[in-house]
Amino acid sequence: MSIENKNFRPKIVAFCCNWCSYAGADLAGSSRLSYPADVKVIRVPCSCRVNPMFILRAFEKGADGVIMCGCHPGDCHYSTGNYYARRRMTLLFSMLDYIGVENGRTRVEWVSAAEGVKFSDTMNSFVEKIYSLGENVRLGDLRCRS
Amino acid sequence: MSAKKKQAELIEEISGVNPLKCMKCGKCSASCPSYNEMDIKPHQFVSYVINEDVESLVNSASLWKCLSCFACVERCPRDVKPGKLIDAARQMVVRQKEQTYLSPDEIPELLDPELPQQLLVSAFRRYRR
């Protein structure tokens, strides 16, 4: 962590599909499995609804990490949505890597509706990773900084 | 990594075979024309690699009984190719110094006038570096 950012609190956006991962997050909640408050979940119908543009937008607006969660491959509510998502994210991540956004700032995880524990574990480890990477300065729109 | 594990991985690497694909149906042993001459049977090769007991494999008589006739390779329903495993084990032996199954000194007494060159060439390639 840099000296300037002693009180660094990351902004983390989590896209969760309605059928598996959002339910998994609910289960983490009802099981009282804590994870840092830095994570904010956005509900989408399916991981395949997550446009790579949304992730770029988040980084532009100052997010320090973006994680996408969907149903396990083969379990997609819409049969094939998460396969599309997986392919898109593979491409996006390699592009982000190319432009210098650290690999660890983005992640894809498959979390089923029954995996409350996995959801909280995933969020804990992801937030930890983002803390270690520090503030995202690479893609942020400078006009958005205060 | 233990030496045993290294050896097992080397066999997998040389052979290009994934022994975990085996479902232990025994079709290789059912197809093998050298079955009765072998101490370790074709279907057992994979277990020796999985159990990292390459030493037993390289010391087995089976190495020199396999004909590379590819009957097991052709018929294996799991694409395991036991013939390739045994060949990799044989390679591990003959690639070591002075570890050959056939030395040039032996040749003259084995020869007969009709023996085709192909036989000698093949045997040399199989039995020694």
Partner: protein
């Protein structure tokens, strides 16, 4: 039609017949076998290890020579055919082997499996055509009951060699029919004769060859044909039965009426 021809070591020496009859028959059938210059022995056995490169280079040289002449490569010996096709498959489909072999070879243009490898029997089937062959037969071998002995090297692995159905081939049977004889189908025709094992383990080879000849005779074969000098040697030497074994090219030459010319 001109093909690059790879005779192999044994056809130069002990199996001269196989070679001579092949060339004579080719001439009679109207295609030419142009021997590759300075060919080297294929090694007789395809090296199975994924890390075997040097042992495959002699084949790559021959394959590349055919490529440079823009010819298909023809072999007669089963073993050469086997090794050549598999090395070619590696060059075509296994990137690692292809790269490393080309690094050794330092060719003007890397070889990537462009050459089509054909066994002489495949030329008869796919290029000449068995119907066409039938028309050219002058001495049909009528009444002869011939068992085809395929062995291993022509057929397996079926996916790479792509020669015929490895468990129930018919190319040699069709060939036998084309030259006017009657094929005898027997189940051991694609079982191993023992190969090089006969050098050190004679008894093993004997048992295996006996099974083959016994099965062939049991189904009524008068003679066996083969495309492999080693099979021929084993079946003649190791089998305790007397059934004659000849090269397929010999009866081909006989049927085409060019046998004596050559001999």
């Amino acid at each position: 039609m001109k093909y690059s021809y790879y005779p192999g070591c044994t056809l130069r020496t002990k199996a001269k017949d196989l070679d001579d009859y092949a060339r004579a028959s080719a001439k009679a059938l109207g295609f030419e076998l142009e021997e590759i210059e300075d060919w080297q022995c294929c090694g007789g056995v395809y090296p199975l290890g994924t890390d075997e490169i040097a042992t495959k280079l002699s084949c790559v040289r021959a394959l590349n020579a055919a490529k440079e002449k823009e010819q298909e490569l023809v072999t007669v010996c089963s073993a050469c055919h086997h090794v050549m096709k598999r090395v070619n498959d590696d060059m075509k489909n296994v990137e690692d082997i292809c790269t490393r072999a080309n690094n050794y070879m330092e060719l003007d243009e890397p070889y990537k499996g462009e050459t089509n490898v054909l066994h002489f029997l495949e030329v008869l089937r796919d290029k000449v055509g068995f119907d066409e062959l039938k028309k050219k037969v002058v001495n049909p071998l009528t009444g002869k009951k011939i068992g085809a002995y395929y062995g291993c090297l022509l057929l397996r692995p079926g996916k790479v060699l792509n020669f015929d159905n490895p468990e129930n081939p018919k190319i040699m049977e069709d060939f036998i029919r084309a030259i006017g004889a009657e094929p005898v189908i027997y189940p051991y025709r694609n079982e191993c004769c023992g190969g090089y094992i006969s050098l050190k383990e004679k008894e093993m080879a004997e048992n295996m060859c006996d099974k083959i000849t016994e099965s062939a005779e049991g189904f009524g074969a008068d003679m066996l044909i083969t495309a492999c000098p080693l099979c021929m040697y084993n079946l003649n030497k190791s089998s305790r039965r007397e059934i004659p074994v000849v090269y397929f090219t010999e009866i081909l030459a006989e049927a085409l009426g060019v046998k004596e010319v050559q001999a």
